[in-house]
Amino acid sequence: MTPYLQIDQVVKDFGGGAVAVDGVSIDIERGEIFALLGSSGCGKTTLLRMLAGFEQPTSGRIVLNGQDLAGLPPYARPINIMFQSYALFPHLSVWDNIAFGLRREGCAKDETAQRVEAMLKLVQLEKYARRKPHQLSGGQQQRVALARSLAKRPQLLLLDEPLGALDKKLREETQIELVNIIREVGVTCVMVTHDQEEAMTMASRIAVMSEGRILQVGPPSEIYETPATRFVADFIGNVNLMDGRLSTDEPDHVIIDCADCRHLVGHGITGSVGMPLAVALRPEKILLSRQAQEDTRYNCVQATIQERAYFGAYTVYRLQLASGTLLKVSMANTERHPDEALHIGDGVWAHWPGTAQIVLTR
């Protein structure tokens, strides 16, 4: 079955060596919320603008619902975008802002009114219809922007850093609201963000981008727990990366020798004995205890607590290993006043289960 949105080997070359998008191919299903995640300069915004029609690809195709978008100007595409700054027309009321796109379509007066009312109801701003944008709060402005971009029932909705302009508290509430509205409408959505949390909470699938290329595509849990490369592992969340060599290669388990410890990983990998690898370990998968575990051969290491940062819900420790490497450990504060608190300078044992490691070959 052909995907709803097909981005096929799209390249955008601005000339003078500035290749913003370097051969990107993505297939997006109907009704998905898809996130392009990467730091600034990775090409995600350029890709978004090519979808919207503000830039034309140097080569490659973009096909939406069977229609090739090549050469189509923005006003001829069944795509609508919500800008990071909302870009509400300051001289028009909320009502007129939302009606703008419908009027350009030549929509009949009563149908326009009907659809605008429906949109206002969807974002719960019925009482603000006659207000001007500067009379609304940031969150309200965003809802207007969303309503405006959904009014024309586009085949594809584009979001440019949707939560970038909001403060932290507002962000959490808005995230959920946004997703609910998008799902209720059922529109296919592509969003661009540099904020991992935003991508992971809102999107059903994420594409991690760097330097114009896609590094990995998958659902949030897959990206987080099964990163394909060192870069992705390091980019998403926090991670401890340990270099090592494959010493034992069995179908159901492998042993990797690192500078400070030996990893016993509970699954097989494709590789040969002696090959260099990296083992990625997420801080929350590591446990700390004062006493050593039963089997100190694998999956544990002795360390000294060097730093301790209290975050309320959890505490992050930085441990110094024998070789001088630092290990980041995150422990949830399950007890309000624990009997045995860990302090800087304490010697501890860090250990983790054999399923916690991510083995990376590149």
């Binding site: 029609g53 503000f54 923005p74 006003y75 795509i79 975008i81 870009a87 405006r148």
Partner: protein
């Protein structure tokens, strides 16, 4: 970026100095205007010797056909040249703002900026000589109201471009893109979005051009023909001959009209700002 505006010199002397300097400056700027108005009521043919209060110069003004005709002509030219200047200047501003790279852009930019600083005698002379050459070759145009209009448009256009372009630069770019995205074609974007947002600057540019035209002497002298005498030309020829109270009367009236206009406009703008901020 927040700005904390408070005087950074703490001494009282410094603050007094600042106030004194500002006061002195304003005094310098307004002294001639006040003098003009005061002496327009002077009952004496010699404007600098006070001989009593009178309104007779205003009365004489009402019968001064030369002055009145010149005023009418000047107003007509000013109105037409301001309108043309805003249209051409607006196009130039749009061109410079929207199209970052086109062939001959730097030449275009220089030509738009040049009349702002170039001495008017040069502009007047060159335009006049060109018009004469064209007249010799094709038989038209005759020098007169039309040619004065031409010169004024040329001068005002530069000022209009500066004002309008400044406003265009303040517009956030996503606005036009949002309009395109929502289905507006480029000309609709301009008409529905850009134009309303620069409307105030268009008005400012128009008023500025109007004033420049109404006040211009040099270009008018170079470019006028028989029967086309503007108000500044009349005032100038009289002023050259010496001091004349009729000029004072005209001056007082112009100052009154302009002051009411400028103060009124400023109050109106201030009130709009307050309404915008408070709601």
């Amino acid at each position: 970026m927040s700005r904390v505006t408070r005087p950074l010199f703490g001494t009282r002397f410094a603050r007094l100095f600042a106030k004194a300097w500002l006061l002195g400056g304003y005094l310098f700027l307004y002294l001639p205007i006040v003098a003009l108005i005061v002496y327009s009521f002077n009952d004496s043919p010699l404007p600098v010797v006070w001989a009593g209060f009178t309104l007779k110069w205003y009365g004489k003004l009402a019968q001064d056909t030369e002055m009145l005709e010149a005023l009418l002509l000047s107003m007509q030219i000013a109105f037409m040249s301001a309108t043309a200047a805003v249209m051409l200047g607006g196009m130039a501003a749009l061109a410079l703002h929207r199209y970052r790279r086109f062939r001959g852009r730097s030449l275009f930019n220089s030509m738009v900026n040049a009349p702002l600083v170039m001495p008017e005698v040069i502009v007047g002379l060159s335009l006049m000589l060109m018009l004469v050459s064209v007249q010799h070759a094709f038989g038209f145009p005759r020098r007169g109201m039309g040619t004065i209009w031409l010169g004024h448009v040329l001068l005002s256009m530069s000022y209009a471009t500066v004002v309008i372009e400044a406003r265009l630069r303040e517009l956030p770019p996503p606005l036009e893109e949002a309009a395109l995205d929502l289905g507006a074609r480029p000309w609709q974007v301009f008409w529905l979005i850009t134009l309303p947002m620069i409307a105030q600057s268009l008005l400012s540019a128009w008023l500025l051009s109007f004033t420049l035209s109404l006040d211009d002497v040099v270009l008018s002298e170079f470019l006028s023909g028989p029967g086309a005498t503007t108000l500044p030309m009349v005032i100038f020829s009289r002023a050259r001959l010496g001091l004349s109270p009729s000029i004072n009367a005209v001056a007082a009236l112009i100052v009154a009209v302009v002051s009411i206009g400028v103060i009124g406009a400023s109050l109106w703008i201030a009130r709009r700002e307050r309404k915008r901020v408070s709601s």
